[in-house]
Assembly symmetry: C3
Homo-oligomer: 341 residues x 3
């Protein structure tokens, strides 16, 4: 395991050292578990008491704290921690397979420089794959798909025909991008498939989680905006537009033609119904059901979703409904007695 001095790390993250800058760090860990040779971080002030008792050799902090560990003070300690983890552990190293002769690559496909195309990957006619891409086994890149530079497609990810993928996009295992939208014309009791002629566009720096599904558009494209991260098992309906820099936590579902602004955070198992507009910087708590347009900057919770401040208390009061009902009955009886007097 390569070691770094705290000084090295502090320089890398732009931090100021308090304490022993020559102390050796070999790995990163959590505040609870970190021990000698490890670095941790404090970003939420409520955990400050834990820093006081940490056995870590060093801690990344936003301002000097009371602790025996050496400190690196930096503006955004969680971001600094991410940088430290990259420095110490690195991102995944990909197998250096080159373009495997066991992959099935169409003669009309174009593959960039320095790609690893694993055995049993499929690249169809007229597909284009940029430079430095990792295309794992079982990946399907359909006809006319374009994949930018520095992309990683993990095993068994499927990209249907014609979809467009930007640079530095990651698609995790078993994800499906560009499947037919759930669009049928029902006529005399039978459901007839409407050809889904839109595609899916994954802009730069998007990540799609394992087993997530992004449907292609019926007539217009489904778009995942730059830098947005889609969690595992999320589904995105046909023609939905997800703005840039959103986070969609696992198992969320965005129905067809819904639109999200930028920097939205959609909690796990949330449902957003179709054809509504969710503004910018909207946060939705887990399991909520968003059924109406949402103004910029809102924080919502509940099913149906309401503004979080009032909603939190409201949903917590469901538990008291039997008491409320009883109380109402009691009041009714008391009123009847008063009337009788």
């Amino acid at each position: 395991m390569p070691q770094k001095t705290l000084k090295d790390i502090a320089e890398h993250v732009g931090g100021r050292v308090i304490g022993d800058s020559e102390i050796l760090i070999e790995s990163a860990s959590t505040l609870d578990s970190a021990g000698a040779g490890q670095i941790t971080f404090l970003s939420n002030p409520k955990y400050a008491p834990k820093v006081k008792k940490t056995h870590a050799s060093a801690v990344l902090v936003a301002e000097q704290v009371e602790t025996n560990a050496a400190q690196s003070v930096t503006e955004d300690p969680y971001y600094a921690f991410m940088q430290a983890v990259v420095l110490l552990h690195g991102h995944r190293e990909h197998p250096n397979t080159g373009v495997s002769p066991k992959a099935d690559i169409s003669e009309s496909a174009k593959i960039g420089q320095n790609c690893n195309i694993h055995p049993f990957a499929i690249i169809h006619d007229n597909a284009v794959v940029g430079d430095n891409c990792q295309i794992y086994s079982g990946v399907f890149i359909g006809p006319n798909v374009t994949v930018g530079n520095d992309c990683i497609l993990y095993p068994n990810a499927v990209i249907y025909d014609g979809c467009q993928i930007g640079d530095r996009v990651i698609v995790q295992s078993n994800a499906s991008v560009g499947q037919d939208g759930f669009g049928f014309a029902t006529h005399k009791g039978e459901h007839h498939k409407i050809p889904q002629i839109g595609i899916v566009v994954l802009e730069d720096d998007v990540e799609i989680g394992s087993n997530a599904v992004v449907e292609r558009g019926t007539l217009e494209n489904t778009i995942i905006g730059k830098g947005s991260k889609i969690g595992d098992s999320v589904t995105i309906g046909h023609g939905a537009k997800i703005g840039p820099h959103c986070l969609l936590v696992p198992q969320a579902g965005i129905a067809g033609s819904a639109e999200l602004g930028h920097h939205c955070v959609i909690g796990g198992q949330v449902g957003v119904v179709g054809h509504i507009k969710v503004g910018n910087m909207v946060t939705v708590a887990a399991q909520a059901a968003v059924i109406n347009n949402v103004p910029d900057g809102s924080t919502l919770l509940g099913a149906p979703a309401v503004e979080a401040n009032k909603g939190k208390r409201a949903y917590a009061l469901i538990e008291t409904l039997p008491d409320m009902r009883k109380k109402i009955r009691t009041l009714g009886k008391e009123i009847d007695k008063l009337k009788d007097k």
Copy 2:
């Protein structure tokens, strides 16, 4: 792009032209986006004002409307639109791979005429695949599976041993059909797997979405009725029976041994508990929890699910619980004052 005259299209959909029947149409689009050379449709009368302002060259309508576009009047304009999209754009054209020597096909399997079996597809012992099927890469067709004619199995779809698939069935990418049901006998704190000896039957014209899962039955078969469409990431429990012509929107879950009638529409993220009967033509709103038998023709919403008419208002009132609680307290105090008098 091939062009059609409005007359051609109107004949194809059985419509009556109002306006220029020779106008050339090359593609289909939405009411909002359609421009010159495009055709759109009006099926929901509330969008009629948009038709008045559309830049489309033609519009499919149920009755004559005020618009500058040429019109084709037809009984079911959404169905006509589907037909027009098929005419103009067609369904997906599948790569003409023939039976790839890179597929792995058992000698005892039977493959029909005119099939495309892509590289790295697997067809196991005694499996039968009908005519005109598209079996994409990474598809697994287990031992003794039967697949009818004109089926499409998209990349990495898995059909476990013994399952039966009718004609014109579509299974989208990464879907799993016939995995073991979630059935365990718990004895002295350990969960013992019960062999799942039922199969999955997908009747004619069924579609299974990407990453959806249909479990095989424990003792009786799991059945998806003719023409039913199962959205992406839906899960169907062991032994469930889905009637014909149902729509199950993405992420819905139907637990084991539940039964749905015909023409049910189950919203996204809905849960239906096991061993209950949902009648015919039942509609369930997104995220609802259906925990009891449901009579024919019901419309439900909420968790727990209740009849929609009263449920909609009831669930909306959760938000007012803090006010209700306060009001009850106030009434209590006023009554106390009255008593004191």
Copy 3:
């Protein structure tokens, strides 16, 4: 179909026969469907009337009941039924492919005795697979993964680098184990991937359902305890710890760093938020939202989840909110009238 006498079956399950012990049984079925030559079971006493009318040749019961069928009396009839199904039908027989030359196995990987490694399976550098394993087509076993003995990995299951799998583990089709946790450091509006340096540990006798996702840990490992069964389309967040012998029903979601004790039963579509502790032997009803620590032995329901006894009535009362609201208004008016007097 091989036949067994009821005597054979009773001996196998440790039961005492009442009636004809020589009667021939060839298959197992449900109480409703079983006919001549079939065995069924009664574990829930409420179905006793059905046993009276069953056409089954034999029934497994906990104590003697009134029926024309022969009976085998045993302590735990559902467990006995599982044993009888195994005796009569057996578990799935796996294709005997041996180590296929069409699989892609690294020279540095170690494969145990008696394994079937199917065509187009991938086993990467330094991976270890134990004895008697079934590795189906399209399975990806990443670098440095270890798989124990007697494991079954169904088609297109993906095990990311470094994950550790115990003995007798089953991973169903299209499941993803060890994908990157949903961990990003957001800095100046952009989300930066934190390397996920933990792994996933699946202890002995774990089963992972089709299309389920288990994320690897950010810094600490994600652990699924011995004997736990994870349903299809379940997602387990990074660093979560699931205790031994839990059942997680399909579509449940456990967020990052949540901890579950032993013998928990988590219903379908349940959400458990991150960083909380759920005790031992906790049962959570379908679709509930668990947002706080849960003591041992609790039974919860609802969103937000509350103790089941009071919760069941509380959630059912949501339906009455319009009435309650009306009643409160009426009381207010009556009080006003009383005041006026």
